[in-house]
């Protein structure tokens, strides 16, 4: 396979993966592009490589910055902004995990907490509801703290976790 082909395939695949994880295609593609670029890229560069509009590029670059997984870079004497991806993959994964926990898991926990606290009525339905939502709360809560624990190692956390699990 040629480099250009491979690069394209990688960007497309990463984009498709994004959509399956609730991240929009362009955002994932920009991220993919920046990851494999040895140099920082400008918005123009990105628009050119991915054939996307200025507005699209601008909005998704911002979103990536909000996630903390790409950064702006300034070149001396140049007005335009350049972008680079977080280069450490463990750090990348940590940031994604943290952000998803904050945006999705934590709010869900709040709701589970709330709905599982309804008052006991006599009905079987309400009883089952309380039981199940409380169980879910327990589970999600533990999963979230497990994720925190794992990613708290900061470096090579996957390897370290596997080591611990093998013992």
């Amino acid at each position: 396979m040629e480099f250009d082909q491979a690069k394209n395939k990688f960007i497309q695949t990463w984009g498709a993966l994004g959509t399956q994880w609730g991240i929009n295609k362009t955002m994932a593609q920009i991220h993919a592009l920046l990851m494999v670029s040895p140099e920082a890229l400008s918005m123009e560069d990105i628009m050119g490589e991915l054939y996307i509009s200025r507005g699209n590029a601008s909005m998704n670059l911002r979103a990536l910055i909000d996630w903390g997984i790409i950064f702006k870079e300034y070149k001396t004497g140049e007005r335009r902004e350049y972008f680079v991806a977080e280069s450490n993959i463990d750090e990348l994964a940590r940031k994604i995990a943290k952000e998803r926990s904050k945006r999705e898991i934590k709010p869900t926990l709040r709701v589970l907490q709330e709905v599982s606290s309804i008052e006991e009525t006599g009905s079987t339905e309400a009883a089952q509801f309380k039981t199940k939502t409380a169980e879910l709360y327990e589970f999600v809560s533990r999963a979230d703290s497990m994720l925190e624990k794992i990613t708290d190692y900061k470096e090579s956390w996957i390897t370290k976790t596997i080591m611990k699990l093998m013992k």
Copy 2:
């Protein structure tokens, strides 16, 4: 909060969470509904509770069955089918993890493998590409096997994993 309110809030929240994870709203809602129902529900019941069409119900029930997280039940002397959710939450999480690994992680690994194997050209760009995609392959591969290890405990895997990680 009233039971009916709480139930509705739970179903809506679960549905919204689904969309953030690439699962469609109705599928997540049906699953939520079945989880908190003490009795098996028929397609009619589900259509009525969620205000959705027959076709929608049928397609999403099928998808849930494909994921292995809900089951059909037959009542003797009755023609219609009833549905129940996997009642064990650890088991539910294991099945979801397994399915997502199969559908998303494994295919991604194949692509990463493929694109990181392009032949060395002299260019910096190609070199960075190879390095990064190989690194990603390593990482995703390890994350996937970590997930496998964790969920292989079958029962109360979250608790067990946390225990191991605390040592």
